[in-house]
C-alpha cells in the first residue's frame, strides 16, 4: 500500500525529490562515483514512481489541486485575497498526468542508460545535477496552474538544457550549439514574461484558471497569445523556427537529446494549455487552429526532407523530431480549428486531437529510443558520420533490434505505436481536409525511406575490418533502450486501451475549460 501522505503530497514531492537530489549530487559524488550513481538513479526512480502514482490518482479520481502554503486544496482562494487565488497552485488534470507519465518513463530509462554511457566522462557532478534539474523543470511546467510559475520552470529547464547541450564541449561546437539554444530560449522566455505581464495587468491574476475565467480576448490578449504561441512553437522546434533543433540535438550527449525531446514536448504542452485552457472559445479558433496546422505541415515536410540528405545520424534524427512534432501540431490544430462547433468536434475534432496527443507519448518513446541507439553506436564507433559506418548488425544485435523497433515506429509501420497515432491523425484529418492527410501520409513514406537508408548504412553490409573489435553496448544502456522499446511495442499492440484510459481523458480535459476553471474557483 502507498502511504496516504505520499499520494496527498505527490505534486510537491515530485518536484522536491529531484530538486534536492540535484543539489546534493555533487556532494554525494565526493564519496564515490558508485554512491553517486545509486543516489541519482534512486532519486530518479523515486521521482518517476511519485509522478506515476500522481498520474494514476488523477486518472482514477479526477483533477488534482495542490495549493502550496495551504493545508487543503479547498483553501485555493484565501478569504482575504479578494477572490483571487494568490498562492501557487498545481493543477493536474489528465492532460498533465499524461505528460507526467511520459516524463516518468523517459526520465527513468534515460538515467539507467546514462549511468553507463557517461561513466567514462568527467564533470559528472554537473551532468547529474543538470539532468535532475531538467526533470524538475519538465515536471513543474506540466503540473503548475500558475502561469508565472510555468515561466520559472521553463527557465529552470532551459538553463539546465543549455548546460547539458554544452556538456561535451567538442572543440567548442557543442558550446556554440548551447549558446544558440540559450539565446533563443531567453528571447522566447522574455516574450512569455511580457505576455504574463499583460495578463497580470489586465486581470490582476497569475493563476491560469482565474485568467481563463476573466479572459476577454482584447487586443492585448491577442498580443499575449501570439507571444506565447510563437515562443513555445519555437521551443518545440516548429518550422520555420526549428533551426536550433538540429544544432542542439546533434551536439548534446545522446541521453540528453532523448530528454530534450521530452523537454520540447513540455513546451508543446504549454502551447496547447494556453490556447485551450486560457483562451478556448474566446479566441478565433479557426484562425489560430489553421496557424497550428500550417506550422504542423511545414514542420512535417521541411523536417523530413531535410532529414533525408543528412550524413550525421543525430542531425538526421533531429530533423525527424521536427517532422514528428508536425503531426502533433496538425492533429491538435485540427481539433482547435473546429473547437467552437460541437458537431464537428464530435465528428472528427476529438479524434484528431487524440491522435495528436497520442503521438506526443509515442514520439517521446520511439524518438528517445532512437537517440539512445545513436548514443550506443557513438560509444562504440566514436562517430555519428553515417558514411563511416556499416556492418554493425554483426556485432551490435540488440542495438540493431532496438533501432529497428524505433525506426518502424517512427515510420508508422504496424503494429508499432507510431502507426496507431498516425492512423488516428490520417483518418480524422482526412475528413477535415483530405490534402492535409495526403501530405501526412507522404511524409510517413519519406520517413520510412530515410530510416531504410540509416538502417542500411549502420547495420547492413559485411562486418567492416575497422570495426572488427566492436562489441555490443553495455547492459545498462541496453536496459534503458529496452524499457522504451517495450513501451513502443505495448502501446502499438494495445492502442485501444491506451487511448481509452490515457489519451481520450487528456483530450477531453484540454477542451473542457470549464472543468479546469471550476477545479480552482469552485474550491475543489
Amino acid at each position: 500500500m502507498i502511504p496516504a501522505f505520499i499520494v496527498e503530497n505527490s505534486p510537491a514531492l515530485m518536484i522536491i525529490v529531484p530538486l534536492v537530489a540535484a543539489f546534493l549530487s555533487p556532494f554525494i559524488g565526493r564519496i564515490s562515483s558508485t554512491v553517486r550513481s545509486i543516489w541519482v538513479g534512486g532519486a530518479m526512480a523515486v521521482t518517476s514512481a511519485i509522478a506515476l502514482i500522481l498520474a494514476l490518482d488523477v486518472y482514477s479520481a479526477g483533477t488534482r489541486l495542490y495549493v502550496f502554503g495551504a493545508s487543503a486544496a479547498s483553501a485555493a482562494i484565501p478569504p482575504d485575497s479578494g477572490g483571487i487565488p494568490i498562492r501557487i497552485i498545481f493543477e493536474i488534470d489528465p492532460m498533465s498526468a499524461l505528460m507526467l507519465v511520459i516524463t516518468a518513463i523517459s526520465g527513468f530509462s534515460i538515467i539507467v542508460y546514462s549511468l553507463s554511457s557517461e561513466r567514462s566522462h568527467t564533470g559528472l557532478e554537473s551532468y547529474y545535477t543538470l539532468y535532475l534539474l531538467m526533470i524538475t523543470g519538465i515536471l513543474g511546467m506540466v503540473s503548475t496552474g500558475d502561469i508565472f510559475n510555468f515561466f520559472v520552470f521553463l527557465e529552470i529547464l532551459s538553463l539546465a538544457s543549455a548546460g547539458l547541450i554544452a556538456y561535451r564541449i567538442d572543440g567548442g561546437v557543442a558550446v556554440e550549439a548551447a549558446l544558440k539554444y540559450f539565446v533563443l530560449s531567453t528571447i522566447g522566455a522574455l516574450a512569455i514574461l511580457v505576455a504574463i505581464g499583460i495578463y497580470y495587468g489586465q486581470y490582476n491574476a497569475l493563476n491560469m484558471a482565474m485568467i481563463a475565467a476573466r479572459m476577454q480576448f482584447s487586443v492585448l490578449d491577442q498580443v499575449a497569445l501570439v507571444l506565447i504561441i510563437a515562443a513555445l512553437a519555437m521551443k518545440c522546434g516548429a518550422v520555420p523556427m526549428h533551426f536550433w533543433t538540429p544544432d542542439a540535438y546533434s551536439m548534446a550527449p545522446s541521453s540528453i537529446t532523448a530528454l530534450l525531446v521530452v523537454a520540447s514536448q513540455a513546451s508543446l504542452y504549454g502551447l496547447f494549455r494556453t490556447v485551450f485552457t486560457l483562451y478556448n472559445v474566446t479566441l478565433n479558433a479557426a484562425t489560430v487552429g489553421w496557424l497550428l496546422i500550417i506550422l504542423g505541415v511545414l514542420s512535417m515536410v521541411v523536417g523530413v526532407t531535410m532529414a533525408i540528405p543528412q550524413k550525421n545520424v543525430k542531425r538526421l534524427m533531429a530533423y525527424h523530431a521536427v517532422s514528428q512534432t508536425g503531426y502533433m501540431l496538425l492533429g491538435v490544430g485540427v481539433g482547435l480549428a473546429v473547437l467552437g462547433n460541437q458537431s464537428l468536434l464530435d465528428a472528427f475534432g476529438y479524434m484528431a486531437m487524440e491522435g495528436g496527443i497520442f503521438h506526443i507519448i509515442n514520439h517521446a518513446m520511439y524518438k528517445g529510443l532512437l537517440f539512445l541507439t545513436a548514443g550506443a553506436i557513438f560509444l562504440r564507433l566514436g562517430t555519428y558520420n553515417l558514411n563511416r559506418m556499416g556492418g554493425l548488425g554483426h556485432s551490435m544485435k540488440w542495438t540493431m533490434l532496438f533501432f529497428v523497433i524505433g525506426a518502424l515506429a517512427i515510420a508508422g509501420i504496424p503494429p508499432f505505436n507510431g502507426f496507431a497515432s498516425k492512423l488516428m491523425i490520417y483518418e480524422s484529418v482526412f475528413v477535415f481536409n483530405p490534402l492535409l492527410a495526403v501530405i501526412a501520409m507522404v511524409v510517413s513514406i519519406l520517413t520510412l525511406a530515410s530510416f531504410v537508408k540509416v538502417f542500411h548504412s549502420i547495420f547492413m553490409g559485411p562486418a567492416l575490418p575497422e570495426y572488427a573489435e566492436v562489441k555490443e553496448a553495455p547492459m545498462p544502456m541496453l536496459a534503458g533502450m529496452g524499457i522504451l522499446a517495450v513501451v513502443v511495442i505495448l502501446f502499438g499492440l494495445f492502442p485501444g486501451i491506451v487511448v481509452e484510459s490515457l489519451i481520450a481523458p487528456a483530450a477531453h480535459a484540454l477542451v473542457d475549460q470549464g472543468a479546469y476553471i471550476g477545479a480552482v474557483l469552485g474550491g475543489a
Binding site: 533563443l184 520555420p240 492512423l423 480524422s428 548504412s457 494495445f494
Partner: protein, 134 residues
C-alpha cells in the same frame, strides 16, 4: 475456470475475440484497427512463407564455396569497398529535387542572427494574422 471446461470451441473463440477486441481494437472514427488480428495474419503469412521455403533447394551448404559471392570470376573486393555508404544512397532523389534543396538548405545557415530573425518575423506575422482575423 480452466480452458477445457469452458464449453464448445466456438464459444471460447468468441471469448478470445471479445477480450482482444476490448484491449486492442482502436476505433478511429472512420474505421478500426486491431494489431493483434494483424499480427495473427502476419504469423500465418510467415508460416506459409516458411512452408514454401522448406520445399526449396536442399543442396545449399553454408560455409562452403557455394556461399562465396560470384563476381564474374573477379576477386572479391575488400569488405569496406563492398558496402554502399550513406552518401551514395538516394542520389537520384536529391538530384530530382535539387531546385528545392538549393533553396532550403541555405536557410539552415547556422547563424544565430538568422535564427532570431526567423523567430521575430514569424511572431510579427502571427500578430498581424491573429489581430486582423480576430
Amino acid at each position: 475456470m480452466p480452458w477445457w471446461t469452458r464449453g464448445p470451441i466456438s464459444a471460447r473463440c468468441w471469448e478470445v475475440h471479445e477480450t482482444m477486441d476490448a484491449t486492442s481494437t482502436l476505433l478511429t472514427g472512420a474505421g478500426y484497427w486491431n494489431p493483434l488480428a494483424w499480427l495473427l495474419g502476419l504469423v500465418v503469412a510467415i508460416i506459409l512463407a516458411w512452408l514454401i521455403y522448406s520445399m526449396g533447394e536442399k543442396g545449399y551448404k553454408p560455409g562452403t564455396a557455394q556461399a562465396e559471392p560470384f563476381i564474374s570470376g573477379n576477386k572479391e573486393p575488400e569488405k569496406g569497398m563492398v558496402h554502399v555508404r550513406a552518401g551514395n544512397l538516394y542520389w537520384g532523389y536529391l538530384e530530382a529535387l535539387r531546385g528545392y534543396y538549393d533553396r532550403l538548405v541555405p536557410l539552415h545557415s547556422g547563424n544565430l542572427h538568422d535564427y532570431i530573425l526567423w523567430y521575430l518575423g514569424i511572431t510579427a506575422l502571427f500578430l498581424v494574422l491573429v489581430v486582423i482575423f480576430s
